[in-house]
Amino acid sequence: MYSKEIIVSNPTGLHARPASSLVSKANSYESDITLQRVGEDDVYTVKSIIMLLALGLGQGEKAILAADGPDEEAAVNELAEFIAGLTE
């Protein structure tokens, strides 16, 4: 298990196009990958658009990005970088 705290900085947050891209990227890793809003108990899989939308992270929100599996480190680092680089 490997994890990192991320902050959503793009205006539309993690829905619409950014969410779609995140889901398809997440699905290219073998590990289970999850997001958890800081201060909340519910954990959502990043490999499902439905879950990501249900989580609905908006601009300025913090969350824990975690992965568990053979490529966990790469998954967390690369996806965190992707989220940080969103501008839309």
Binding site: T12, G13, H15, A16, S20, V23, S24, T45, K47, S48, I49, I50, M51, L53, A54, G56, G58
Partner: protein, 574 residues
């Protein structure tokens, strides 16, 4: 077998039938008892695969046509393949013993509920995508093939009860060769669409859906207003010869496009077009038309899932004004209500929508909405010649109120240093008998007016133009219409103001001579009828047209008027 209907153009089509019905289902959650769970899972997987195949094919067709609407397909595919929903559906089938369609419905409904309650608007909107995918899955499960008019596999004649504005937002123009509907008349939405596509259409063909089958070849004979179901080989051959003949005649007519629109002795009749957007094939034709007589701005609202922003409208209006450059563009402000619904506005259902809160009434009751449209329009006025026209006016006060709002918005723009045309002309539609009867009292305050003959006819005849049962009472050639138009023409002539006609009557080959005789000098119609109108106008002798106008106003029935107009048309020599 032969069925009859009202034809909108003298064209013929021989094609396969596409029966257009939207899929509907009853929501039910059922458990299975005797069936095997593995078989149920298989059924679910097959349904999913079928839906996926449809989406892939749809995407390929949209991309091939260069459509920019292909993005939603990707979003729908992601939902369809979502691993979490997939797991839940599989679990409901195996553990709760739900039929696949019930398991799908239950799972999708759950997330539709979650999304609809979300505070974020962007997520709320995604519930609509879930609903679309759910309908697709259930339809596939029921084995019902997809029905859409936006991308068809081959040329066809569409047969439907009626086409609504939402069905026709994106049409596969290349493959739709004709339309047949059970309901609707010559002024219905279907008729307007068929005219703009320049294809034959037969309307009000009673029970046609009971007699035709999908994919069978039929003949749509727009010349004689009939549809031939299960035609013989001889009939098909005969009609193929006729198609060639009709094409030749239309070619002759097309040659009139580039000629000037003047009567025999040289009176110029301005011919303008009715549009919903800046269509690409308008561009080459612009030198031969006198501007836009009716820009139906409501299509901007009907094609969106939410209220179009001021900026979005501004860009759309600006594009149209720039395309038409030096020619005037008459923008009709938002005209919804009546037969045009906008779902996201959540307007209450009315008992008599045609007599309800529509047109300028609705705008005056929703000032923010009206204001944003006027702001967009005035900002766009800096880029061409814009004229603003309010629909459904019944009194002088409504016009004053609406105009005052325009002036307020103008001042606002001035204070923000935003450019706009301070000489923008402001006028009204004449569609209600009330304003027609007091035209002399409002003519000095308005810059121009345009008669919407479709609505005016329905209000004068007290016959709902959407109601097939009173079709016989909705009379395009009721003598009252011509009396009303004659009196309006006189009033506007005296005042030296422009009076145009923008209803279907303006492009009706039979009506044009009498309209010219009455004194109308501006006619606005669909682009496809302009060439034919020029052909007619160039053969009109003004003295004869004036006599015709007097004669028609003394006739006692629409049938007499029609007979008289037909005789006149036959005597127009080429």
């Amino acid at each position: 077998m032969i069925l009859n209907g009202k034809s909108i153009s003298r064209q013929i089509a021989i094609e396969e039938v596409l029966v257009y019905k939207t899929f509907s289902y009853e929501r039910s959650i059922r458990k299975y008892e005797d069936e095997d769970t593995a078989e149920m899972q298989k059924q679910y997987n097959r349904t999913k695969e079928l839906a996926l195949k449809e989406l892939n094919a749809l995407e390929a067709r949209l991309k091939q046509r260069g459509s920019d609407h292909a993005d939603f397909v990707q979003a729908h595919r992601e939902i369809l393949c979502d691993i979490v929903m997939d797991k839940e559906i599989v679990k409901l089938i195996s553990e709760k013993k739900l039929y696949p369609d019930s398991a799908i419905t239950e799972t999708y409904d759950k997330y539709i509920g979650v999304f609809s309650k979300n505070k974020n608007k962007l997520i709320q909107e995604r519930a609509a995508d879930l609903r679309d995918v759910l309908t697709r899955l259930l339809r596939c499960w029921h084995g019902v093939p997809e029905k859409t008019l936006s991308s068809l596999e081959r040329p066809c004649i569409i047969v439907a009860e009626e086409l609504l504005p939402t069905d026709t937002l994106s049409l596969d123009e290349k493959n739709i060769k004709g339309i047949i509907t059970e309901k609707g008349g010559l002024t219905s939405h279907t008729a307007i669409i068929a005219r703009s596509l320049d294809i034959p259409a037969l309307l009000g063909v009673a029970d046609v859906l009971e007699y035709v089958n999908d994919k069978e070849r039929i003949i749509l004979d727009g010349i004689n207003g009939k549809v031939i179901i299960s035609p013989t080989e001889e009939e098909i051959e005969e009609y193929q010869k006729q198609i060639l003949k009709v094409e030749k005649e239309r070619e002759i007519t097309r040659q009139y496009m580039q000629k000037e629109s003047v009567t025999k002795e040289g009176t110029k009749i301005d011919l303008r077009v009715n549009i919903a957007s800046a269509d690409i094939h308008h561009k080459e034709q612009i030198p031969y038309i006198d501007g836009v007589g009716l820009f139906r701005s409501e299509f901007l609202y009907l094609t969106q899932d939410e209220m179009p922003s001021e900026e979005y409208q501004f860009q759309a209006y600006k594009t149209v004004l720039q395309v038409f450059d030096e020619k005037p563009v008459v923008l009709r402000t938002l005209d919804i209500g009546g037969d045009k619904h906008v779902e996201y506005m959540k307007l209450p259902t009315e008992e008599n929508p045609f007599l309800g809160n529509r047109g300028v009434r609705l705008c005056l009751a929703n000032r923010d909405l009206f204001r944003s449209q006027i702001r967009a329009a005035l900002r766009a006025s800096a880029y061409g010649i814009l004229e603003i026209m309010f629909p459904m006016v019944t009194s002088v006060n409504e016009f004053r109120e609406a105009k005052e709002l325009v002036m307020e918005v103008g001042k606002e723009l001035d204070s923000e240093n935003i450019e706009w045309d301070h000489d923008v002309m402001i006028g009204i539609m004449i569609e209600t008998p009330a304003i027609a009867l007091i035209a002399d009292l409002i003519v000095d305050e308005i810059d121009f007016a345009s008669v919407g003959t479709n609505d005016l006819t329905q209000y004068l005849c007290a016959a709902d133009r959407m109601n097939a049962d009173v079709k016989a009472y909705y009379q395009d050639y009721h003598p009252a219409i011509f009396r009303c138009l004659a009196s309006l023409a006189e009033t506007f002539q005296k005042a030296g103001k422009c009076l145009s006609i923008c209803g279907e009557l303006a492009g009706d080959p039979l009506a044009i001579p009498v309209l010219v005789g009455i004194g109308i000098r501006t006619l606005s119609q669909s682009l496809t009828s302009i060439a034919h109108s020029k052909q007619i106008i160039r053969n009109i002798d003004m003295e004869q047209a004036k006599e015709l106008a007097v004669e028609v106003q003394q006739m006692k029935s629409d049938k007499d008027v029609l007979k008289c107009l037909k005789i006149f048309a036959e005597n127009l020599s080429d």
